[in-house]
Amino acid sequence: MLKPVSRRSFIKASAATAAAVSLTSFDMHSWMASASADEKAAISKIPTTCNGCSSQCGMIAYTKNGRLWKLEGHPDHPRSKGTLCARGHGYATLIYSKERLEQPMKRMENGKYEPISWEQAFKEIGDKLKEIIKEHGPESVALVQDPRPTGNVYATRFIKALGSPNYYTHHVACNNSRDTGFNHTIGGVPSADIANSSYIMFIGRSYGDGIRPSSMSALAQAKENGAKVIIVDPRKNNTSPFADQWLPIRPGTDLALVLAMAHILIEKDLYDAGFIEDHATGFEEFKKEVKQYTPEWAEKVTGIDAQTIKTIATDMAQLKPKAVIEQSWRGAFGCNYKNSTETGRAVALFNAMLGNIQQEGGYIFGASAGLGDLDPDQFPAPQEPDAVKDGEEDFPLAPRGRGVANIVPLRAKEGKMKAAFYHHSNAALGYGNPEYYKEALNEMDLVVTIDVQMSETALLSHYVLPEPSYMERDDAVDGVGGGTAAVVLRQKAVDRVHPNTKPADEIFTELAKASGVGEYFTFTLEDYNKAAVEPLGITMDELREKGSIPLEDKKAEIGTVPEFNTPSGKVEFASQTFEDAGFNAVPTWIPPLVEPKNGSYRLTTGKQAIHSHTQTANIPMLMQITKDYDLERLWMNRQEAKKKGIQDSDLVEVSSDSASSTVKVKLTDRLHPETVYIPSHYGITSKYLTTAKGVGFSYMEHVPFHFQPMSGCSMIHEVIVDVRKVDA
């Protein structure tokens, strides 16, 4: 009988009557016509922030009748300055994508995922976590994320509350090497004042590929002012229209170039001796070391002729302090080579020799926003765990806060790491060898992924917890440091499309409760936000209205050299810390880990302007650009290809010790003959992401699971591959 289910379980009809709605309104077409004609009344303007990449530019979302209508760059945000890149426009379409996580899921015995309720998810995860901690201690639990404002607050607090020190970030596959180098020499990572500089050298960094609108317009401005721009890159990247000169360096030898340039400054007495005198230590040791790194030596190593090196170094010295080697991100020395940390040190020190620190057109340590925090009396914070973060003993130089995230799978394989949380992180495809990750994560007792889509990491997890997209949630207040610091807010622009998703603040609060540490999570996101803006003299209402507020009283002081955040308080040309860790006190030439032999190539990778990591790959309008212009192709030097009988757009097999991939090839004269280049956003394997799946391959498949000795980075360019034509 049909009777027993004659009840409405979704909608409750008490006091409801259909007579309240006219027949005309029931007609979708006429209702639509009137609802969309009513333009002005229904449009709201909501300032928020993008999540298309880590820059998180400010933007203004216009919504009409509760749905997204259009987007603009936020004029007051220091990174967007009124414009958005392709990702900024395109990534927002994620809101309405069907291929998102809609509900909590659990992996069953048969490997399939079954939807479960939040209650069940929290309870089971909490119980399991308590059991693991009881048995193996809190050090067997880790949390990894690509940090975003809410995660910065909640995830760090959560793992600390559990008693575990094991908090890690994605920087292991981003800029940990550079930061390791910079931190121990000049005590942090400043930003180059590009707009005012007269001579700019980019090493591996490409403003035209890894886009931040404000950086690109600063470079355009510098060019307008007549600045000279040099790009050092095995690939003539997309910044090249704004460059005067391209130095096609042999990949992995940037360190030799910078050392030789330092050699020239010393030999010709061109460095800023006054600055060194006042603000540096260990310069004599450095001088001694650098003596051997002649331009002629560097020519042999880098392939760049000695005269060019001499000219550039001399020119830069002449224009100092308005000359700068840009600090880069992942680029050539973020995480790419065995010598990346040393390159980072050398770059920082070369800039110090130009005396450009805190000078216009040089390196500027920005002001920070100085956000407030929760009142510890009202909301007690968890104690710092006693144990040392796993990996810190192995890599004592690596940035402490960020850690070495690839320790987690290593320890999992050793049986020491039992549980891991991955929040807004596709570590299994982005941080290290995916095969290794797969084996390692399968060893663990509990893997939980919190994300918006079924990433490769989610597919290795026991539990997958869905977040609403960044357009559908409020995040924690964030500070943006820089010339003028700013306070910014990501806020909900549209209602949650998938009703059964929860934002990270709620997820971590509930997880904490379920794991028995709920006492540290008695506050709400709104409580935190109020506390964060409190010392700034700004109210949340104001911030909500403006979205991004520059803090005029928090400007970088230009012209005064600060005390450096190093043990000596000075620029350390020789570092005791390095020596203590078992390395050379002064930067020394270290050759790359592997070298291509005749006919084999170094596999290099880098960004494209339309994608960010693997997260934007499934956005149809962004992926369509890739498809229209075959952007997933492998770049190969034209002459090299000729030798192998490979023609443009031929299908080639790329094989390394770790993997073999098939992809179309793009022949170009813009690439060093010793390398092949693959854009870094492709090779999605998750069947849940149908737009992205099967387009191109992931360079990570070829990268062995290994650690850069100083910073623990993934050394993603230390891969040699063979390339061979395959018949279609």
Binding site: L84, P248, D628, H672, P673
Partner: protein, 252 residues
């Protein structure tokens, strides 16, 4: 309202595709349709190679062939200088697509008001509506390198000349692409190389065929049609008058 122009300075383009996406946003285009296309030009051999990205959209000719050949009068000149398609008049006959000397007018599947898929001419509008409201076209306003700039006609021409002088050192073949043969265009290009490198004809003109067709053949044809019809009518009338009652057994 003054006449406007857009300058695309290809020497400043980094190929970030922001203009394409911003344009799709502005014009409600689905992911696989774009008013803007791109081509890369590499000149020289490693390591002495120049790379230029060429971003290409409708040129908005002063004498637009598409406007000339459209049988529906669906294409018209806006007071801003843009050549715009009225998609409600358009029937998707592809006359514009097949006669555009730049291959820019395209007929694609679009959605009409009822949501049905229909073939319609679909091309850059130079953001006509936005410009009429005093705003800048979407592509120009999102371009952070100022490779795309928009403004009063004369200012833009001046700007182009100035930029040309600046880039001549680096690109000796640089030129302003603003073909006379179509009366000049409202999107002009500062090209780094000869137009042929970007698949453009340096002397692009209104095709002679279109002139013969629209200025001679068709008016004459209409005349002929009129003349024969008149002759027939005249014949019928004169037969009535002169041939009345004459039973024509024997004939001539």
């Amino acid at each position: 309202m003054g006449q406007y122009r857009m300058l695309v300075d290809v020497t400043k383009c980094i190929g970030c595709y922001s203009c394409r996406v911003a344009c799709q946003m502005e014009n409600d285009l689905p992911p696989d349709q774009s008013y803007i296309s791109f081509c890369e030009v590499e000149k020289g051999e490693y390591p002495n190679v120049e790379w230029v990205m060429h971003r290409f959209s409708c040129l908005h000719c002063e004498d637009a062939v598409c406007e000339k050949v459209c049988p529906q009068n669906a294409i018209s000149y806006s007071q801003t200088g843009a050549v715009v398609v009225d998609q409600e008049q358009c029937i998707g006959c592809e006359y514009c697509e097949k006669n555009c000397p730049f291959g820019r007018a395209k007929v694609e599947l679009c959605q009409d008001k009822e949501g049905n898929s229909v073939s319609r001419a679909n091309k850059c509008t130079l953001c006509n509506g936005k410009v009429l409201e005093g705003m800048t076209p979407a592509c120009a306003s999102t371009c952070y390198t100022e490779a795309i700039v928009f403004g009063e006609s004369d200012e833009i021409l001046q700007k182009a000349e100035q930029r040309l002088a600046e880039v001549k050192d680096r690109y000796p073949d640089a030129n302003i692409y603003n073909p006379e043969g179509v009366g000049g265009t409202h999107t002009i290009y500062l090209l780094a190389h000869k137009p042929e490198e970007y698949d453009l004809e340096s002397d692009a003109t209104t095709p002679a065929s279109a002139i013969i067709w629209k200025d001679y053949a068709q008016p004459l044809g209409k005349l002929l049609l009129g003349a024969t019809t008149m002759a027939v009518i005249g014949g019928a009338i004169s037969n009535r008058l002169f041939n009345k009652g004459e039973h024509h057994e024997g004939g001539e």
